[in-house]
């Protein structure tokens, strides 16, 4: 059970990080048209970002679970860094790359 919970921690952080990085990549390489000029909406990027971030979260969760099983102490030491990174990337992207 604890292994699953540790995997969930990594997966949740990976979801937020992947979502933010995808949004930044989208803004840099595939800029969306100005919403004022879009009359008919086709794909909705938010759903696609969530779907791809979900896939990344599953993969990262499996990796995190393996790391935690190998060394719980190392995993615990990395937690603060992981959370701080998640918060920083999420907030910076949310504010500066809307």
């Amino acid at each position: 059970m604890r292994g699953l919970l540790r995997a969930l921690v990594v997966a949740a952080c990976a979801f937020a990080i992947a979502y933010s990085l995808l949004r930044v990549a989208q803004a840099l390489f595939f800029p969306a048209p100005d919403p004022r000029t879009v009359v008919v909406v086709g794909r909705i990027a938010f759903y696609w970002r969530c779907a791809i971030a979900g896939f990344a979260a599953i993969v990262a969760g499996i990796g995190g679970s393996a790391l935690a099983a190998r060394s719980t102490r190392s995993f615990d030491e990395l937690l603060s860094l992981l959370l701080t990174t998640t918060i920083a990337i999420g907030v910076l992207q949310g504010v500066f790359v809307p």
Partner: protein
């Protein structure tokens, strides 16, 4: 979906969002003490946050098709505020889940201080970000909503 149903869902989304913010503040305060247990509070706060996010995701499609353009046409600043709200909400819900998993994985292990501290950090950040998201959402809904 009919406009009435969308309006109802939007109202529920907004009210549950503020409840979720209040619920997230509770573990953010209680978990200051690493030995403190708050399984019910963390589970309820994370559930409310997830329900809010889910409702937001349900009405996001009609928002994109019906409201996004009019909001941008009226005010680009408000349109961008909505985008910011959407991105920050993803971070808030992910942090709530991370906090819940960290708190539950702590179990009865008295040496799991790192996980306890991390759970506290996750809930503090989730509460602050969710509060910001709720303020932005209320501002935009007051400007234009489903009619």
């Amino acid at each position: 979906m009919t406009p009435e149903a969308l309006r109802l869902l939007e109202r529920i989304h907004g009210h549950v969002a503020w409840l979720a913010v209040a619920a997230l503040v509770h573990p953010a305060i209680v978990l200051r003490h690493p030995r403190r247990r708050a399984r019910l509070a963390t589970t309820l706060a994370t559930t409310l946050t997830t329900v809010t996010f889910g409702l937001g995701a349900v009405i996001y499609d009609p928002y994109s098709r019906r409201l996004r353009r009019p909001i941008y046409l009226a005010s680009r600043t408000l349109g961008l505020l909505f985008e910011r709200k959407e991105h920050l909400a993803v971070t808030a819900v992910a942090l709530a889940w991370a906090g819940l998993a960290l708190h539950l994985s702590r179990g009865d292990d008295p040496t799991a201080h790192a996980r306890a501290r991390a759970a506290h950090l996750a809930y503090v950040a989730a509460a602050l970000i969710a509060g910001t998201v709720a303020v932005l959402g209320t501002r935009i809904a007051a400007f234009l909503s489903f009619s």
